[in-house]
Symmetry: C2
């Protein structure tokens, strides 16, 4: 950030009075520009005993596997965002079962929110950001070709959960 989005003047990075963090503050209108982590929301879609996974069509993870997920938009609930991303990226209509994983990436100011969701039918269809989608068994999870640590965590905890069958939301974060 170099310029104020409100008045177009230059900004300076300094700690506002009474604050503990440095913020971009406009040298002219004095507006404080707060910057906060963004949420990436999605689903772990289930059909019978299979999981729906997607092959990334976008760099830098082109060709690696992931779950349908993307940035939460203004004006939607977290659940609406997760259902929308699952429809856009995998062409699947899902019903949310429960929150499955909350995973922080403090290095890049991102938080993943992944729901366990039931597909309403076996239908799916790769969207523009996916090369292909497929239903796989737990044994077929391509552990060495998963695109993101948050998705690997979500899949790992899902497999873990199958063993004990507890209703649980898993908390994780990327180690520095």
């Amino acid at each position: 950030m170099k310029y104020c989005s409100n008045c177009g003047n230059t900004v300076s990075l300094r700690i506002p009075k009474g604050d503990t963090h440095a913020r971009y503050i406009c040298d002219n209108c004095q507006i404080i520009h707060y910057q906060n982590p963004r949420m990436i929301v999605g689903c772990l879609p289930i059909w019978e005993d299979k999981i729906l996974i997607c092959k990334c069509a976008i760099e830098p993870r082109y060709g690696l596997w992931t779950l349908p997920a993307g940035f939460l938009e203004n004006g939607e609930t977290v659940e609406q965002g997760a259902i929308r991303e699952t429809s856009e990226e995998a062409g699947a209509n899902v019903t949310i079962i429960r929150l499955h994983a909350l995973y922080s990436l403090p290095q890049v100011n991102q938080v993943y929110v992944i729901y366990l969701a039931e597909m309403r039918s076996s239908h799916f269809d790769a969207g523009e950001e996916s090369l292909e989608c497929k239903l796989i068994s737990v044994e077929e999870i391509p552990w060495d070709d998963i695109a993101f640590t948050a998705i690997k965590f979500s899949l790992k905890m899902y497999v873990e959960n199958l063993k004990n069958d507890k209703v649980e939301t898993y908390l994780g974060h990327h180690k520095r």
Copy 2:
């Protein structure tokens, strides 16, 4: 947003190619400025059979009761943010038990993330944003004087949970 934070030129609100949402795009450098919901993270701190609540010292909720919570900062995990806010606003050191509630406010582009947390001692101390803090029993919850719908939801679900004692993360959103 009126000006580009990268180059200081004017921005226009339009839908980028391949996108579905209108974004602020710089008329000069063409940067797309995405705007996304912010997370408010905090705790429902427990000491023995009591809950720690805080009286807001800040408008527009001055004098109403809430739980310690605030905006998640860049560079921290959601859990770190919730523990920090509990320390700053209520002077309490807590250990997180589990994720208690995820509550969306799509009208104002906010998502609350509230953890159930155990106080490490009975010590607490109102911070600058609190007029006072106190430990109360479930029967003493001031239902008519709670500052935020997300906090009311978190407290209500906590009381609900005491009856069935399930390990559960509650999902909610503010109705339009």
